[in-house]
Symmetry: C2
Subunit: 130 residues, 2 copies
DNA sequence: ATATATAGTTACCTCATGGATAGTGATGAC
DNA sequence: GTCATCACTATCCATGAGGTAACTATATAT
């Protein structure tokens, strides 16, 4: 893909026309990555998710799941019983996204050390730079 | 890569130990994607970047470039002349990141339509769902 | 003397994200 | 009657990312 030239520059154009923006915006959300990872192995109930995602509040869990559902990445199934039972699972699209997350993780595992090194060099600053 | 089980759950653990967090955090920044794309074709001066990235303010341009420089993705070269001349270019690591951005764009181009469809379905809501 | 060009700073303000906390509804167990 | 369970929902509030606008320094050109 070398068609970078047609890419919109300027943030407004980027947001309106570049598909990457949609995805990046999702991934920027604090819990999306974790929720998708948690669901990779199969369907889970709300409570199971809440326990698995240590530190998440019910509000953020629901909010995240609603966004994911709206975007077609997660399927929500409600069992009309009492007490309530609700299960969540990745759709095909969601599993596909998990694949992208693997690519990102793979890149990160390869290169995060370089970034950390650069940060360390920048932090200790010029006392080391002759 | 199937080693999802060792992945930290809970946001704090994620942040401290998962390399993906470092990268995702970067990509969440509003201008990083655009700046890296702008520099893909070669080095540019500050003013050239400012003109290319329609809508960016000098503050955000500098801020973004400083972060990228600190993380070893961008090299900054200062020419001691007046008026000042400063050029920026991607490091090898930065070009590598551009590769990841291409993967993300590729995925996005393939699947963003599905996401948009899902959103449209969610918006018009249940009046269409029998 | 004044204007211009370049590459930034600096101070201030706004608004969205997300955290904290408490409340809701329905039913079966005790 | 009331307590527990489960899956939320509602409300308020703090933090920080990012926007706005004005200011800086220096040498050359006029």
């Amino acid at each position: 893909m070398d068609s970078d030239d047609q890419s919109p520059f300027g943030y407004d154009a980027f947001r309106r026309t570049c598909p990457s923006h949609t995805v990046l915006e999702m991934l920027a959300s604090k819990w999306v990555y974790l929720v998708v990872c948690a669901l990779r192995r199969g369907r889970l109930r709300n409570g199971e998710l809440a326990r698995k995602l240590e530190g998440i509040t019910p509000k953020m869990l629901t909010q995240t799941l609603r966004v994911l559902e709206r975007d077609g990445l997660v399927r929500r199934e409600v069992f009309p019983v009492i007490p309530p039972r609700v299960e969540y699972e990745l759709t095909e699209l969601g599993q596909n996204l998990a694949g992208l997350l693997n690519q990102i993780r793979s890149w990160s595992e390869q290169h995060a050390p370089d970034i950390k090194d650069a940060r360390a060099r920048a932090e200790h600053g010029r006392d080391l730079v002759a």
